[in-house]
Symmetry: C2
Subunit: 146 residues, 2 copies
DNA sequence: CTTGACTCCGTACTGGCGTACGGCGCCAGA
DNA sequence: TCTGGCGCCGTACGCCAGTACGGAGTCAAG
């Protein structure tokens, strides 16, 4: 099982991780993956540790970390710096929550405008467009000074 | 108040909208803002309609629309195409909700991992790092075959 | 008249995450 | 031996929404 540990080419590594070759090279340029030296003639070989590292990177990306942050997390890979890792994760959680709040605001405004469009169907003036024109100030009560 | 309607320079327009001059030029290049012709010698003048258009763009941005989408919305600016505008908004709302769901997943995973780090404080192995290494499969129960 | 602020216009750069391209080397199978 | 497919390496390009820069023109005040 571990006999062919150092037997992978970059293409095989890529295929096993569902990643493009160029992506691995990009991670190498960014300092996230090591560049193994070429032992027997011209072609670099990759092992299970590289596979694991790639998995680490992909998993961290699913949590929303940027590659720069993942590089920091990888420095703590031995698992003995839990506080540092947790600090990075706490900051990321803050960012994610901030973004969620922003998006919730957008979704609320959009659905309210869509409701107004639904209610006023058939009228000549679109409430959505109208609200954009007046700068989103008045979503539900168009200021008809009458 | 409306005497100096055509009296604004691009810098004044920018200041009144809280936008950089270069941003307006960028919108012009993208076809979102018109480029007025220069009447009396070399300097283009902008009016209240340009101000309104800029406000429309900023308001739409707050709703999460991209500039390409805003260009489409601006084509419906007369307010007589409510169905088309609503269709664009519905799609955007879908996108926003999808993104919110993604981010909620991230936030949930992150806070769970942070809880695990808190619980296991003092231990030598960081659960956050450990989960990344094993590919995020096991968040709460490290598989100690004991 | 000069100075300083502003405008005009084109071009290049930012950040985040890759993708694409092109010329070369190397190696295995037919 | 030849050929096709990878691997190697550097560079450029893609998106998006701007930002920065630089030289030239113009305009108003001092």
């Amino acid at each position: 099982m571990s006999d062919h540990a150092q037997e992978m080419t970059i293409g095989q590594l890529a295929r096993r991780c569902g990643v493009h070759v160029e992506t691995i090279r990009y991670y190498q340029r960014k300092g996230l993956m090591r560049v193994p030296d070429k032992p027997w003639g011209g072609i670099r070989r990759y092992g299970e540790d590289d596979l694991a590292r790639l998995g680490f990177i992909r998993a961290a990306q699913h949590l929303g970390f940027t590659l720069a942050e993942i590089r920091e997390l990888l420095k703590l890979e031995d698992g003995t710096h839990c506080a540092e890792a947790a600090a990075i994760a706490r900051q990321k959680l803050e960012e994610v929550r901030t973004r969620i709040a922003q998006l919730n605001g957008m979704a609320a405004a959009l659905s309210e405008l869509l409701n107004a469009c639904e209610r006023g169907k058939g009228k000549q003036r679109c409430p959505l467009i109208g609200s954009l024109r007046t700068g989103l100030r008045d979503t539900r009560e168009p200021p008809r000074a009458e």
